[in-house]
Symmetry: C2
Subunit: 266 residues, 2 copies
């Protein structure tokens, strides 16, 4: 370990705090990952980590420190005040890694067996994208594609809400038309969810390769997704409140696909 | 309408702001409802509304004001500064109602046809309870029961995240044992979701009356829900991230019940 940093004015502390801003992440190509579980998942996922900061005192996660040191990652202790100044939130366990952003192009799924893909458009908050990534990773999705060019998957709230699922599956940013061309190229049929659809999701064949396309609750999907009624599905809402949020729709669709894959005959 | 209030120090403005605190809601039996859609759903749901505050200037929701006046509800204009001081958040449309808390005992479901009930325990944030209420209302649930005595369904974040679904179905607070007795009395079979369960949710018969019991992701469910393995179900997670958040589990379970009710033969 390197000597402990105690001053909140230390350049390393200031640099960490600046990474909370998108402009700085774009400029440096770095992003912060807070929390031992999240950092562990980043290492599992092959994310390049430059440095690990640990809060001095009780509760240093020794397993993570040992793993980082074995990987040649510089480990730097921070005093409690310096840590609090550097962290985006109160981090249980007291760890922040500085990681390198990874490519977010559409992945090659050529080797994947019947891939399940989630496509989202109009995700309103980074936390919502994080929640959706977590659900998609749990469902075993082969990739998540966000069709919003302004999305920043390296936002600290994405990392936090995903519990590190951001590192567990390929996450791509691509415009809608490009995404459809990529799905076609991989022979992956897609279904677009709309509250104005008439075909219940249960009537779509989700037993093989499938992409599920879900839009923001205010904005919905770009009309280019909705041109073919055969591809438009709906999560029927028998109750008095007709609208579901994006994360709920994604969960229902993804686990209907899991069900269909679990019971091929059903 | 009454004369406009412009001072942020006006007692009515201060009283509104105080209602953001639970102690004040408990003391007065009142709670604030912000937003025209949410207030409309409160009126639809028969919630007693004492007063409607509207922000002066452009965009006054005239339909809502007319409806309130027809119902004998006092309508009070607030200047922009006074409104901002009174509101919990930036309210699109500029409306806040002061409503009377309603009873949150276990409802009588004797007349309900095959009721679908959601039981939650260990909901960590008011916003999560709101999101779950919204999903349950969309699925046509007959009631939602929260088994946490500390839960306050009148928290502004519950109202906001539920988009007013809080007013669209009965919401009850009750301890776990009392909830089970109530379910038994109504002849409603229940299933408890646990990530340690072995029986996939799809193998539970959710085609008739059913209660779905979901716990917080950290705390899980009280062991009293998990004693009978026949009643414990799991949302299988084939992917690398094994955990799902409470709202995602609730969405998957509720809409699996909707599916089973939609296809009685399947």
């Amino acid at each position: 370990m390197r000597p402990q940093i105690t001053s909140t004015a230390n350049p390393a502390v200031k640099a960490l705090r600046r990474l909370q801003r998108r402009r700085e992440r774009d400029r440096t190509g770095l992003f912060p990952v807070e929390g031992a579980r999240e950092i562990g998942r980043a290492l599992d996922g092959g994310v390049a980590v430059d440095r690990l900061y640990v809060r001095s005192g009780e509760g240093v996660p020794t397993d993570l420190v040992a793993r980082a040191e074995a990987a040649g990652i510089e480990v730097v202790p921070l005093g409690a005040e310096a840590f609090a100044a550097a962290a985006y939130r109160d981090v249980p366990g007291g760890t922040i890694a500085v990681a390198r952003r990874f490519a977010t192009g559409l992945p090659d799924l050529a080797g994947a067996d019947a891939p399940l893909v989630l496509v989202v458009e109009g995700v309103e908050k980074p936390g919502n994208l994080g929640a959706v990534l977590r659900t998609a990773a749990a469902a075993g999705a082969a990739a998540v594609v966000a069709c919003d060019p302004a999305t920043d998957p390296f936002n600290p709230n994405v990392v936090r809400a995903s519990l590190g699922a951001l590192f567990a599956l390929p996450v791509a940013l691509a415009p809608a038309a490009e995404t459809r061309a990529w799905l076609d190229r991989h022979g992956i049929p897609w279904w677009a969810s709309s509250m104005h659809g008439t075909r219940p999701l249960w009537e779509a064949d989700l037993s093989g390769a499938a992409a599920l396309v879900v839009g923001g609750e205010e904005s919905g999907l770009d009309p280019s997704w909705l041109a073919d009624p055969e591809r438009v599905i709906v999560v029927p809402t028998p109750g008095p409140v007709a609208s579901l949020n994006l994360a709920a729709v994604a969960a229902v669709l993804l686990f209907e696909a899991v069900r269909r894959r679990s019971y091929p005959a059903g």
